[in-house]
Structures are given as C-alpha cells and as structure tokens.
C-alpha cells in the first residue's frame, strides 16, 4: 500500500537531510505507528506521502501511484484517496461540525442528499452525535480531533494518516481517539499514526517504526517505544 525506496529529503542545500535514505513497506490494512522525537523526520515523512513536499531523491509509491509520474493536476486526486488527520486539526472555524465534515464531500462533487446521508453515519462512528451544529471553537480538544478524523474518513480513503492525533489530549480523550482509529482500521483502512505517547504505543501492540535523525532505527512487528 505504501512503498518508500531509499527516500531522502533535504530542506535547503547545506542542511543535514530530514530523511536519509528511508526504505519502508506498509501492507494494505496494516496499522503502523511511527515514533520518534521532534525533528526525527516524522512530519517530513507524512508531508512526502501527501505530496506537500517532494523527495530530494528516492521513490514513493502509494496505492499504486508512482509519485514521480504524478502530474500537478493529479495531486488533488491522490489526496482524495488519502485521509489525513492533521496535528493542528485544520478545521474551518466558520463552519459547523457537520459542515466541516460535509466539506470534504462537497469538494469532490457529492450531492447534498448523499452528504446528508453519509455525514451522520461518520459522526456516529467518532461519537459526535448531537454536536453537528457546534462550531469548532465550542468544542473540546478531543472533540475537535474527532471532527478532524470524521472528515478524514468520510470519503472512505484506503489510507488514513494521523499526525499526532493525541498530541494535545488528556489520557482518556487520547484513548477515545485511538479507539476510533482502530475501528476504522478494522473496516479495512490502512492507518499510519505518528505519536509521542509511550503508553499508547506500548498498549496497542502494533507495528512500530522508530525514526531517529532521519533514519529508521528500528521496525518491529509488535513493538514498544523506548525513549
């Protein structure tokens, strides 16, 4: 599902590479956790996958799409296949919860009737029933995070990328979010999760990839996280 072959990304010319010849393979329906300290290259990795950045060298293939052959006008089509939960949520502040989720469907041309049919189902999965008309600013951090997840999965992407989705949450809310991700993974979506949270990593018992200074320092099938 995700294939990286000796991928290097260097910002600017003289800097040390943010990612240094990373090779990585993720199977469909896998649940992968990427850990590492700030600056280890986690965000860069995700930005390469969403084609926000281009690799300095190396090959990236996601869902059968070779990024080297991807034309600019095809980038939106790629992004529609990948659901992303951003670290800072990236919700539209002047739209309600419902509208924020509906927005993802609007811009790929779903009819209003279909939107009204689909969005409540997804809000139910993430546990936001009854909060459809709230504005993002009226929600708690965990609720906002779940809106972001709902928006990321509403189009039923084959891959879900979640960047530190538990970053600003207390343990209880963090677990709520993780449970939602597991549920989505169970439905068949490949999940790529980055986190700092040691407890979550150890409890999940999933594949863990550890990044250090732009390199993969370990990749274990049922890993834990040592700081």
């Amino acid at each position: 599902m995700i294939l990286l072959d000796r991928v290097t990304k260097t910002y600017g010319r003289s800097n040390a590479p943010a990612l240094d010849r990373i090779s990585l393979h993720v199977e469909p329906k896998e649940f992968v956790i990427v850990v590492g300290q700030s600056g280890a290259g986690k965000s860069t990795l995700l930005k390469l996958l969403t084609r926000e950045e281009r690799p300095t060298s190396g090959k990236i293939i996601v869902g059968g799409i070779d990024y080297d052959k991807l034309k600019d006008r095809e980038i939106p089509l790629l992004r529609r296949k990948i659901g992303v939960v951003f670290q800072d949520f990236k919700l539209l502040p002047n739209k309600t919860v419902f509208e924020n989720v509906a927005f993802a469907l609007e811009l790929v041309g779903y009819a209003n009737r279909e939107i009204h049919h689909t969005v409540p189902k997804v809000l139910d999965i993430v546990g936001l029933v009854g909060k459809e008309k709230r504005m993002p600013l009226e929600l708690s951090g965990g609720e906002r995070q779940r809106v972001a997840i709902a928006r990321a999965v509403v189009r039923q992407p084959r891959i879900l990328i979640a960047d530190e989705p538990t970053g600003n949450l207390d343990p209880k809310h963090a677990w709520d979010v993780i449970k939602v991700l597991e549920k989505i993974n169970k439905y068949g979506t490949t999940v790529l999760l980055t986190t700092h949270n040691q407890e979550i990593v150890n409890k999940l018992q999933r594949r863990v990839i550890t990044l250090k200074d732009g390199k993969i320092s370990s990749d274990r099938a049922r890993g834990d996280y040592k700081t």
Binding site: L107, A111, E114
Partner: protein, 319 residues
C-alpha cells in the same frame, strides 16, 4: 454511493457558482472599488467606439460631397462623352460617375434659383449657357492625383470647356478633420489601455486581499484534495459578476446620457460630434454593444482573478 461523471461535474459547477456569488456579496465594499475601475474603463471604451463611429460618419458625409466636376464643351459628340465616362470609370480611385446634361444643368439651376427672378430672366433670354458636366466622386479624396493626371491629358483636356473644379478648399478642411480624429482616437486608445491595466491591477489586488483573508481555508481545501478550479472558480465567478454589473451600469449611464443629450440638443450637431447620429448608433447597435461590453468586463475580471489565484494554487516543485 458515489455520484458519477457528468452529475458530479454539474454539482461541482453549481457549488463553484454559488460560492462565488456568496463571496461577491460578502466582499461587497471591496467589490465596489474593483467595479468602479471597471466601469470607468468600459465607459471610456464605449465612448471611444461611439465617437469613432460618429466621426467616421461625419467625415464620410463631408467627403461624399467632394467631387470633381468636368465641364464639357458643347461640341463634344455623344460617343466621345460616353467614352470619357467609361474611361473615367476604369480609374481605380473612382467611386461613381454622374453625367449631367445641359438640359438637366439648366433645370437644376432654375430650381436652385427659383426665388431669384432676375437670374432666371437673365438665363432664359440666352441659349442655355450651362455646360454638360461629368461629376466624379473619388473613393479617397486624398488621392485624386491619378484622376487629375487623366483629365490633364491633352486629348481629354480638349473636350473640356472650363477649368476643372477639384473642391480644393474643402479637401484642406477634411484633412484637418481627419488629423483631429486620428489624434482623438489615438489619445482615447492610450486612455483605454492605461485604464484597462489599472482596473486589472485593482481587481487583481482585490482578489489577492480576499485570498489573503481566506488563505487558511484555501490551504485546507488544497490538502483535502480540492481541484484547482474548485478553489479558483468562485474567485473567477466573483470577478465575472464585477464585469457584468460594471458593463450594465456603463450601458445605462451612456444610454441615459444620450437620451438627455439628444433631446436637449435636438437635431443640432455639436461641431463634429453629431449627437443625433451617436444616439442612433447607440440604439441601433445596442445588443452588440451590450455583448461586447460584457465580454470585455468578463475578460478583464477573469484574467485578473486567474492571475491573482495562480500563485496560491501552485504545488511545490522543489525537491
């Protein structure tokens, strides 16, 4: 269930349009500046077109009166006369040739002077003193040399009784008018170009301001996989509204100006600018003018908004 092809495209188009309309209403005050600029530009263009048509009309009216009169001797045989007329018709700069016989010339003279019995009496006492005339209308009154050369040939000159009249004095006046209109046209053209550029820049800025206010939203849209036209479309729709409204106001403005002016100056012409003609021209070509105005307005709007959004829609290309 995913919507398919055509339907999806239609839904998307509809969303682009409604978003554009909403933005237009939301940015109303910002829009006023852009529309005013466009209005000024379009009105200048409209004035240029109408005054150009009017001047051309005036000039052609005057130049129509320019002719060359060749007076024939009474002794010229009909065959020679016909040959002369035919030869003149062959010249490239000749628009038309009229023949006025001696009788016709007399009749015209009598008509023109019917209130002057002395002149009529004088002429009726003698045998018809008026010569038969060949009247030549040149296509371009500025280039009558070839006609003149032909008429100056000895065997042609032989047939003529008097000096040929070239309306020389009128030609000078026409030259001056032509020069003046050319100057006006050029000045107006420069004005149009300058105002078009300014109005493009202002609209460009308006859109950039609107984008700046919503850059976060645009970034999010981009990350969620919105296509370039889904993001750009509403801005283009918005500026097309500017164009349509500005062109309508411009037409209404100029139209009512003509209505007022033509009733005030009824049938008088203000020097070269024949208000009556300009007003007629405006109403006769109303739909063409309306379409053209809207076309220009829409073009200005669309071009500047496409340029303004381009920078924000680029994907990263650096490796």
């Amino acid at each position: 269930m995913k919507p398919t092809g055509m339907r999806r495209r239609f839904i998307t188009m509809e969303r682009i349009f409604t978003t554009g309309l909403a933005n237009f209403l939301r940015n109303a005050w910002l829009a006023v500046a852009a529309m005013t600029m466009m209005l000024v530009t379009l009105t200048i263009v409209l004035f240029l077109v109408i005054s150009n048509a009017t001047f051309s009309h005036t000039i052609s009216q005057i130049t129509d009166k320019i002719d060359i009169s060749v007076y024939l001797k009474d002794s010229v045989k009909p065959a020679d006369k016909d040959k002369l007329i035919n030869d003149i018709k062959q010249l490239s700069n000749v628009k038309s040739v009229d023949f006025i016989s001696k009788d016709q010339a007399l009749k015209d003279y009598q008509d023109q002077n019917k209130n002057n019995p002395d002149l009529l009496a004088a002429i009726s006492q003698t045998e018809n003193p008026l010569p038969a005339t060949v009247q030549i209308k040149p296509k371009d009154p500025n280039k009558i040399n070839d006609i003149r050369d032909y008429l100056e040939q000895p065997e042609v000159k032989r047939l003529q009784s008097d000096e040929t009249s070239y309306s020389g004095d009128r030609k000078e006046a026409i030259d001056k008018i032509t020069q003046a209109t050319r100057f006006l046209r050029e000045t107006a053209l420069i004005g149009v170009i300058v105002f078009t550029i300014i109005s493009c820049l202002i609209i460009f800025n308006t859109i950039q301001m609107a984008i700046f206010n919503r850059r976060e939203e645009l970034t999010i849209m981009r990350l969620l996989g919105a296509s370039t036209w889904y993001i750009r479309g509403p801005f283009v729709v918005e500026t097309i509204f500017y164009g349509v409204i500005a062109s309508l106001i411009s037409i209404i403005l100029v139209g009512s100006l003509f209505t007022v002016a033509s009733s005030t100056f009824e049938a008088t012409s203000l020097g070269l600018l024949d208000i009556g003609y300009a007003s007629d021209y405006f109403s006769q070509h109303f739909w063409t003018i309306l379409t053209a105005q809207m076309g220009i307005g829409i073009l200005i709007g669309a071009v500047s908004s496409v340029l303004a959004t381009r920078r924000y829609l680029k994907f990263k290309t650096t490796k």
